[in-house]
Every structure is written in C-alpha cells, then in structure tokens.
Amino acid sequence: MTARRIIPCLDVKDGRVVKGVRFEGHVDMGDAVELALRYRDQGADELVFYDITASPEGRTLDYGWIADIARDLDIPFCVAGGIADADQAARCLDHGADKVSVNSRALARPGLITQMAERLGRQCVVVGVDSRIIDGEWQVHQFTGDPSATKRTGRRTLDWILEAEALGAGEIVLNVMDQDGVRKGYDIAQLKAARERLTIPLVASGGAGATDHFREVFEQADVSGALAASVFHTGAIAIPDLKRYLADAGQEIRL
C-alpha cells in the first residue's frame, strides 16, 4: 500500500540547518543543500525545510534557494516559513518545491488554506500545527521560530486540525512542543486522537529519540510519516538502520 515515510526536517536559519532544544536557543548543524543530499542518499522519503526565522521577522522564503534544492534532489520536499498568500505558495512550487506548509499565517487567516488549495490543489497544502498541553488541554501555539515571539492562540488542537482539513489542507504535520528536542518519544495519545479524526494524511513531529519511538508512533498512532531533526542531524539514528528496523518490525517501508 503506502510506505511509512521517514522525514528529516531541516530547520533553516540564514541558509544553515539549526536545531533548538525546547525552542530555546539554536545549534548549528550544517549546510542545508549538503544535508539534503546526504539524507536522500541515506533513504529519506521526503524532506521538510522550515525557514524558522521567516515568520517571526515577517520575511518570506528565498525562492532561489528552493530551486537550488530542487535541481539536485529527486525525492519530494516541502517548504515552509512566512508564506503569506497563494501567490507566494505558487512561487515556491514554481521553483521546484512539491508542497508548501503554513502554520502561523493560517492561524491568523484561515482563508489562506482555502486560497492555496483552490489555486494549487489541496495535495500541495500542508498545515503545520504546534501543540502543547495547557490547562490539561491540547492547545495550538503560534510563531514558534523565536522564543520571544511564541504565543498561545486559545485554539484547541483537535478543533483546529479538523477546521484546517475542512478548509482544504492536504496533510497535517502535528508538532507536539512538549516533546520537541527532548527525545522521549512522540506524543502517541495526541497523535492517535488526531489520526482518528482526520481523513487526510497526518505526520508526527516532535520527540523522536530512539528507533523504538518511530515503531510505536506507526504501530499505535497509525501516522503516515514521522518527522525528526536532531536525531538524524547528530547521527544518533542512521536512516538506513532505522528503516531496516521498522521493516523487520512489520511496517511497510521503502528500502
């Protein structure tokens, strides 16, 4: 059927891949194009590039850089960061991106999702959601690239992902912030609850620290893909080993 996707996420700041811990402070991990090609060679199924500086600073993506990636890469990739309207999203695709992801801008103006879906087809439209537990509830956070700009939205995560799907999202990437960078595993309960409500693909993000975490999130939350950053960037988990482990555990994996 459809293989579970292993998706390295490259948080990009000024052309360099960085990784934060609990969204406080960032560590330089290397050159974006170099890392992208390395992951392709290792068997990554897809890549996500988040320009984490774009949204808080009100900047938009550098399109030339998207074309540089697209010229060499022969697996799908998604770009995100400060995309404010359907024109900008279309330009990302024109430069070779396969999908565009919106997060804070869609929260501010949910109609953006519909405009992008109508213009580009919903299969190109990914909605990223940053979620954490507040007052015992899963709630959405906004502007998470920069700690000083992060804020609560008052929206409940499970309401928002359903609204995003209804508005035209083709995929949801659910990033659970309490888990991010801490590597204690994906938030299975939250992802399972999200999976049960959606009909579009769901990608898990935040918290991967061991190969077991990937197996658990596929087995228990039935997500289409699992996204991770630091464990791949630091070499703590090698993608070929991870994919073989998951295949041996009975998951459908592209080897």
């Binding site: 459809t2 697209a70 022969d74 087809g121 919903r122 083709g170």
Partner: protein
Amino acid sequence: MTEVALLDYGAGNLASVQFAFERLGARVRRVSDAAGINEAERLVLPGVGAAAWAMRRLDARGLSDPIRAFPRPLIGLCLGQQLLFESSAEGDVPLLGLIPGQVIPLTPGPGLTVPHMGWSALSDLADDPLTEGVEDGAYVYFVHGFACPDGPATLARARHGTPFPAMVRQGNRWGCQFHPERSSTTGARILSNFLAIDA
C-alpha cells in the same frame, strides 16, 4: 542531446519536472502554444491540482486539440495522466478523451487517507519501453486524490485500498499517476526510458 518540450499552461510542477529531465542530460524547452506543441520531438504534459480547472486552461489557450493531434511520444505526469482520459467525476468538463473511461475520486476509509500521499509499490508491470528495467515492487512517489479507470491501457498498478493504474499507454501516449521526477532512481529510469522511445 534529446530534447523534450514541457507544456507550460499554468498548472504544473514545471521546475521539478524540468530539473529531472536535465539531470538525465536532456534539453528541456518550455512550450505554451500550439506551434510549440506541433514542433516538439516529444511532449511532456505535467499537472497538479484539479482536472476540470486544468482542462479549462488547456481549452482556453487552444492547446487541447494540438495535444490530441500530437503524433510523437507524449507523457502525462500525475494530473497529466488523468487528462488523457475521457472525463472526470471532479467536474463536468470533458478531458482530452485519448483513453476511454472516467477518472474517479479515491475514497477515504479505515487506514486509508486521501489524498494518497507517499511511496507505493508498482505491480503488474506490462512489457513496454517505458517500464524497461523497472521491477515489480519498486517504490514510486504518489500525490493524488483521484484515480484513472483500469483497462487495456494499464501498464502498471499500485494499491490504495484497491488497485488503480499507476502507468498507462495508448499508442504514442503514456502516463504516470505518480511523480517520476520525485521518485528517486526508479523515477529517473522511467523518464530515461521515455527519452529513449523513438520519436
């Protein structure tokens, strides 16, 4: 150097398709009118999004009939494959009508998300210049919410709940429902096979 004409009608992932052919050493010429189609040695019909919308764009630009009449190798990619068929449940606009049948929506179900997004294995590969060197079980990358009808034109299948045509051929027209330009070495082999077909 082999040359391919890439049809630019405002509904496509042109850059990624162009880059993929360029990686194979082909020269890519973007064409956007009837003359460009008529002159092409081989023609690529890309497309993402909705069939009815894309078809209206082809019609409005006077491109539908030149595509129908194109006598040399043509390949439709993703939505481009769907456009080769007669009609789509997505809208009441007739498609190119080069292959019989109606394009129908995929249905979500337990463990079955729509759009079908990700890597799925090819099966039931027919013997054809386009499938040469491609093995049963090879994974390719799909992103689609609609599927083409199965029939004599089917060259390969993939499964999303039920089997659907992943590749088709009718005479000098071929199609891939998946994105060969994003399907790693298997996709590159398929595009390279297309370049090797006698024009």
